[in-house]
């Protein structure tokens, strides 16, 4: 029995069709340009991670031969790895981007940390609060973020243009429908939109693109011998000045980071992958999701959704 019924012959294949990375790139560039055309004061959230590195390259491409027409905003929790800060400062200078660093100084001075506050409260103060303050201080009406829909279940429902009310909050039940590539940028005073140009990229796409485009990334992504301690169920990088808890000891292991967050809450993984092809190969054979090494996502079922409602990326 023939299963396909061609009711019209006009369904042939074209050799000119873009491959998937070209198609994703074209879509992301169009999103970046559209937001710059329509918003008064956009900003790009720059987290220094691999996704931010891809988003930054796409911004360079979108406005070439001009420079990136908006500043980058880094929310510094004071718990970022020193290699991240060094990379941030060197790379943004090299490409001539304007960088704004925002920290919740009162909370940092008061000693906010995930051990005594719990990860939820610590993130709330050092990331979410700090982000909302940073956006408000700059008067930004649109913020580009590097979030991808494949990261986590509540992100799978996120729009490319994600509307936030005047308190910066997300209402998953009241999202604007988003059809074709026609984005609604209309805002009232105080409201804002988070724009996610990488919505349709997967973790594998990110790595393939970093490889194909030879984009620099923080060296922590590559495996090498590093001092580590075992804390809870997590392999934690050790660095000078870090206080050891009773029973902990420092040892050398060949490890790398799969995603970059704050050092107390982002675990390292044992790995031999010291090049991009090896990382990609590891990714394809290693079947655990990238956020698994982040303590914040599995506090409770649905914890990312709760954080997003409050204004987290």
């Amino acid at each position: 029995m023939t299963q396909t019924v061609a009711l019209d012959s006009d369904t042939a294949i074209s050799p000119a069709r873009l491959n998937h990375l070209q198609a994703l790139e074209a879509e992301s560039i169009a999103i970046l340009r559209e937001a710059v055309a329509e918003f008064a004061r956009p900003v790009m959230l720059y987290s220094i991670g691999k996704d931010s590195s891809v988003m930054l390259r796409l911004a360079q491409k979108a406005f070439y031969p001009g420079k990136i027409p908006f500043p980058l905003l880094h929310i510094d929790t004071s718990y970022k790895f020193p290699e991240m800060i060094a990379f941030r400062d060197a790379y943004t200078k090299e490409i001539g981007a304007e960088l704004i660093v925002h920290r919740n100084e009162p909370a940092i001075a008061a000693g906010a940390n995930p051990y005594t506050l719990g990860t939820q409260n610590c993130c709330g103060l050092l990331k979410t609060r700090s982000l909302l303050d940073g956006l408000a201080e700059g008067g930004f009406d649109a913020a580009f973020g590097g979030a991808r829909r494949d990261e986590e279940k509540s992100r799978a429902k996120e729009r490319v243009y994600s509307f936030r009310d005047s308190a910066g909050q997300w209402d998953p039940k009241n999202q604007r429908p988003e059809l074709w590539s026609l984005y609604n940028s209309r805002l009232k005073k105080g409201e804002s939109i988070r724009v996610f140009p990488l919505s349709n990229w997967t973790e594998l796409d990110i790595w393939l693109y970093l490889y194909a485009e030879k984009i620099p990334i923080v060296p922590l992504y590559f495996a090498t011998e590093r001092p580590v301690i075992v804390r809870g169920s997590q392999l934690t990088l050790f660095f000078d000045g870090m206080k050891l808890l009773p029973g902990e000891e420092v040892r050398m292991e060949k490890v790398r980071m799969r995603s970059l967050g704050c050092h107390p809450c982002t675990g390292a993984m044992r790995s031999e992958a010291d090049t991009l092809p090896k990382i990609i190969e590891e990714l394809l054979t290693f079947r655990r999701s990238e956020r698994e090494n982040r303590a914040i996502d599995h506090d409770e079922e649905g914890s990312m959704e709760v954080k997003k409602r409050e204004g987290y990326f």
Binding site: T4, R17, P65, R176, R186, N200, L204, E281, E301
Partner: protein
Amino acid sequence: MSATATRDFEEFLEAHLGQELLRFTTAGSVDDGKSTLIGRLLHDTKSVYEDQLAAVKKSRVNRAANGHVDLSLLTDGLKAEREQGITIDVAYRYFSTSRRKFIIADTPGHEQYTRNMATGASTADVAIVLIDAKAYLREGRLLPQSRRHTYIASLLGIPHVVAAVNKMDLVDYAESTFSSIRAEFVAFASQLGLKSVTVIPVSALEGDNVVTPSAKMAWYDGPTLLEFLETVPLATADTRGPLRFPVQLVLRPDANFRGFAGQVARGVLHQGDRVMALPSRRETTVRRIVTWDGDLSEASYPQSITVELDDEIDLSRGEMLIPAGSETQSSGLPEITRHFRSMVVWMHEEPLVVGRTYLAKHTTRSVRATVKAIRYRVDVSSLDHVQADHLAMNEIAEVELETNLPLFFDAYAESRTTGSLILIDGLTNATVGAAMIVGAVDTEGGQGSQAALVVVARRAELAERLRDALEARGQRAVLIDDSLITNDSLTSVVRALNLAGVTAITARELSTEALADIVRSTQAFAEGEVVVGDGFEDDEILRLSGVRI
């Protein structure tokens, strides 16, 4: 890793870099097993991470019977829907095989969520409509929701529709049941004008014919669902039509460079091509197609590029490049009109009403659109046309719209990009409707275009009467203030008003030179003409200005 393994892997990488992307959407009702089908696709293509599967296995909720893992939990993302057991919003999923990369728009099939299905369908190459074989046996015909889903897929112009006849395990894998469903579905699909339909018998729960061929349906010799998705030819109409390049942004990094950034919406653009700008209709040549990765000799849909032109022509965001020499639709001209018909899917609790004005976004052009008439509403169960004076949420109708500025469009059937627009409520800013353009409305007396500027020297009374007459006709008009607006700034004021869809009227006396200047510069940007009232009767001026008497 040995040297050989590395080389093999690099070949593998190159192959991965060259893969095509296919976007598909899934539609099914609450109990059709749609989430389970997607969970099965992800699970059997090894796209699920161990920790995610472990989380599903230990979840407090399990709706699958007989000790099966509830694969639907892999996709039901938000707390509310996990508790209710229904998908309440469009969720996007990603997986890949050695042949293609896939993006799934997983859309709910519950009656009140037609808007979500339209959303998911708007970008899809393929729609999978789930049909519950058990329910078919019970009812003796296709369920209304299956018809509705198929209709929406056809309305949104999806090139390929697949009916996945699910729950074959519950009908003893009977070929006769499948054949009846297939016959009824194909008949219905051809009635809708669908271009390509495929029918596949599956069991999402047991995994039959989803990824691996079923041993229990030896009578079926077609592809599994995944094989179909991996091999279905992708539509190419968008790369073959006449050029449409809507300008998103003008890039001016320095005095030596002026580039028009945008995404090719249709067709192909070559370096050296002669192109025409709309609405000015000025022609020029493409000097360069600029990208970060170097200049291109050609670019096609859907590439994002920057175009540098030979001449300094007037062109800005919301305007468009098309092939030079386009004079008629058959020679590459899009429709250029303010008055057109479109199919509208309404998406908001507050109904669409005739006479109301909404904001509309079409390609990169934002305009105001007034609902002139509802021609008919579609009863999506029977497909009958019924009369309507408003449109409630999830209803679909053919609507006449009139915009304040002309749109440059193709019918949606020709191009999903240049034939679509969204409607936005200007007060709440909510996206309230999705429109697929059918075609222009013929207006009696030709174009029905409005004047950009009407000059009625020393006839202040006529100027006021003209304004009132235009407003009575629903056309906005203002009198230029003689003390605030100098002759020097007159052109820019007229331009600003014209962009806002407002006719400017002045009763001031202008020198012949000043008038010629304004006429010349207005020709470059205005949608309507400059009407000079000298020597004409009042009624004639009204008529020239677009007022029907």
